[in-house]
């Protein structure tokens, strides 16, 4: 997501209009501009990182093939998320009925729970990524370093543990708790955004 130029809504609308008229290269711009937020949406409901790539690509292809049904000057990202939502639902349904107890029953259980959450959530809700970004920026420097080493640089926990002078097992527990903390923070921000008490 880094280094991605954010196009204005107007530029996206213009590109969409050209794409609807059959200019598939203009659609390349739409993909370029809209993918980060779609990826963030899809990532909330997948078990494996590789699914994100697959589902996002499928969603963009399906959207193009149905672009004539999209009404210009309405919310394209939300329409796109609805398409991704349908792809996600199919993938989760498959994953939750693998009868694969011996190999990864954890994945099967998680897929069922994710599937329920997907059905409850609204594809129009797009505030999660911003909330997560905000919450991460509010973490102490040491914790942000941990997340950066782990997620951005992909360092093994053992290496991070040595750098931070911590035990690797302790870091595993820390990561769990940081994510739990982020979850609480996100819920708080989303509730505030909705004006909940």
């Amino acid at each position: 997501m880094k280094g991605q130029r954010v196009l204005s809504d107007e530029e996206i609308e213009q590109a969409l209009a050209r794409a609807q008229a059959g200019d598939s290269e203009a659609y390349g711009l739409v993909v370029y501009a809209c993918q980060a937020r779609l990826r963030a949406f899809v990532a909330r409901y997948v078990l494996r990182e590789a699914w994100v790539d697959d589902i996002v690509q499928q969603a963009f292809v399906t959207a193009y093939q149905n672009l004539h049904k999209f009404e210009l000057n309405t919310d394209f990202p939300a329409w796109l998320r609805t398409i991704a939502f349908n792809h996600l639902r199919r993938e989760l349904a498959k994953a939750s009925r693998r009868h694969d107890r011996e190999r990864d029953y954890v994945a099967e259980l998680a897929a069922r729970e994710l599937s329920q959450r997907l059905d409850k959530d609204s594809p129009r809700d797009d505030a999660m990524l911003d909330a997560l970004r905000d919450c991460v920026s509010g973490l102490p420097q040491r914790t942000r370093t941990l997340l950066s080493r782990y997620y951005e640089e992909g360092l093994p926990l053992q290496a991070i543990a040595e750098e931070l002078d911590r035990a690797a097992d302790g870091l595993k527990v820390t990561l769990f708790r940081v994510r739990a903390q982020l979850k609480a923070c996100i819920e708080q921000k989303l509730a505030a955004g909705r004006g909940d008490p």
Binding site: G3, Q4, G28, E49, E113, L129
Partner: protein, 510 residues
């Protein structure tokens, strides 16, 4: 389970480093505690979200990939029509088609590059020279923007250029990264360069490539009307003949994607694959690679979960190849009923994933009806094949964790290889599968500590199976499971070889 342990196991699961036994503990815990499951899924969601937040991605890569998908979808139909036209048309008409295609491809590439570059935050100007013609065969033409350009020594190639050869092979092109391409006769080859890497489009003809190591984030792909080959560092050739594309890999690996449905194969050294409407989309051993091995004359289907083979399936494929067997390796989803009914011998790996009972039953039914000699090590298929008594996991089929030994049950049988008692079939602890065979089965070996768990057993053709029906062909169950074949001892391989020989001897004659 303590809180700390739960949190630690969650983390290890997310990093895909949780061993099987621990995974089963975690699964049991999550199943028994809905709150823990919710917490775990919170962790999954946050983990993936943080991955997205931190990952460095090139947005242009996805845009290019989506546009390519759309282009293929449009061209798949167009190309089918064009191929028919080409077969029936005069040379003049063919030439017009080519020029149209060339112009369209060049225009599309240039337009796409311009559009994306215009909006890129940090536009990268593609190098003016993306390749050079090092050697030109008689009759070769370079077409740029619809015009023919004269070819001289080291003629530079630019984005969108198309090289068309005539009746002679031997034109040699070198890309900027030192990748060398030998272009065959009657070949059309166009070049596109982007930050994601070079793309060669070959609507007709054949090329041989010796690919230089690709820089991080770049990949070389070869696109034909039927397929895309993505290079993972290698020497390979691509040949397009009418509606068929053949990939042969000499060194390294190539990802081969069928355009019609997006299915992918990872083709390794010594292997080939074909993308064509009437050909099975599977991995074949290249004739050149097996030339040094005396051909056994045996042909068999090897059905796996994914043709990007895991360690176990890879070991099996290599073993069969080393025996001189002609093996067609297919992912379960690509197997047709005709292939099952016409095969002489079929091996089914436990890596197949049976998504739902309907597919399992359908596949099992077809396999059960087949006259082929069948060897299976997916124990969940045993009930469908009728070779174990029931389908209750843990009672009728299952696996034994971390073991090396099985126990010979019938030492006089040829498949027991004159062994007796407990024998080590793997060199390190492995997960081995078992089934509950009926008394009509010939039991060769069982679990080391449980004689009711059959680990190597066979049914002769016509024998009464566990479900009371007659076996349509020879049937064998063997203890291999997922990656176990990657750990087999010499004894384990001898048992596998013996079972293959026994099965082939009972395969239907064609």
């Amino acid at each position: 389970m303590s809180r700390d342990e739960f949190e630690r196991l969650c983390e290890e699961y997310l990093k895909s480093v949780l061993p099987l036994e621990q995974r089963e503990r975690l699964a049991a815990y999550l199943e028994s505690d809905p709150q823990a499951l919710r917490e775990f899924v919170d962790q999954v969601q946050l983990h993936q979200g943080l991955n997205e937040l931190h990952a460095a991605r090139d947005p242009q890569e996805l845009a290019t990939s989506v546009l390519r998908e759309l282009r293929y979808a449009r061209e798949a139909e167009g190309f089918s029509r064009a191929v028919v036209e080409r077969v029936n048309s005069t040379d003049a008409r063919r030439a017009r088609f080519r020029v149209k295609f060339i112009a369209a491809a060049a225009a599309a590439c240039v337009l796409l590059s311009l559009v994306l570059l215009q909006y890129s935050k940090a536009p990268v100007n593609p190098p003016a020279q993306i390749a050079a013609i090092m050697q030109s065969a008689p009759g070769a033409r370079l077409i740029r923007d619809g015009n023919t350009v004269e070819i001289s020594a080291e003629t530079a190639l630019q984005n969108g250029d198309l090289l068309a050869t005539a009746g002679d092979a031997g034109t040699l092109v070198e890309l900027a990264d030192k990748t060398r391409i030998t272009v065959g006769a009657q070949t059309e080859l166009s070049f596109t360069e982007s930050s994601a890497g070079a793309q060669l489009s070959i609507p007709a003809g054949n090329i041989d490539l010796k690919v230089a190591p690709q820089a991080a984030g770049r990949k070389l792909s070869v696109v034909t009307p039927q397929a895309t080959a993505e290079v993972l560092g290698t020497v390979f050739s691509v040949s397009v003949d009418g509606s068929s594309t053949t990939l042969s890999v000499s060194e390294g690996r190539v990802r081969f994607t069928r355009s019609s449905d997006g299915r992918q194969l990872e083709v390794s050294a010594g292997q080939s694959a074909v993308s064509a409407p009437d050909a099975a989309f599977g991995i074949r051993e290249s004739a050149t690679a097996v030339a040094e091995v005396k051909a056994s004359g045996r042909q068999m289907l090897f059905i796996v979960g994914d043709t990007a083979l895991n360690a176990g399936d890879r070991a099996i494929a290599a073993r069969l190849k080393g025996r001189g067997d002609e093996v067609l390796t297919l992912a379960l989803n690509d197997v047709t009923p005709e292939q099952i009914s016409s095969a002489r011998m079929i091996l089914v790996s436990s890596t197949i994933v049976l998504e739902g009972d309907a597919l399992a039953q359908e596949f099992g039914r077809r396999l059960k009806e087949s006259r082929a000699a069948v060897i299976v090590w997916e124990p969940r298929l045993y009930p469908e094949l009728g070779i174990s008594a029931g389908d209750n996991h843990g009672r009728d089929w299952g696996t034994v964790l971390r073991t090396r030994e099985i126990r010979i049950a019938q030492q006089g049988h040829p498949l027991a290889l004159k062994r007796s008692g407990a024998i080590e079939v793997t060199t390190e602890p492995a997960q081995l599968s078992w089934g509950r065979a009926s008394e009509k089965a010939t039991m060769i070996a069982t679990a080391e500590n449980d004689p009711s768990k059959a680990m190597l057993f066979v049914y002769e053709r016509g024998a009464t199976l566990a479900d009371g029906t007659a076996a349509q062909g020879a049937r064998g169950g063997i203890f291999l499971f997922d990656t176990a074949a990657g750990k087999l001892s010499a004894t384990g391989w001898s048992l596998f070889d013996a079972l293959c020989d026994w099965s082939w001897d009972r395969a239907p004659k064609q």
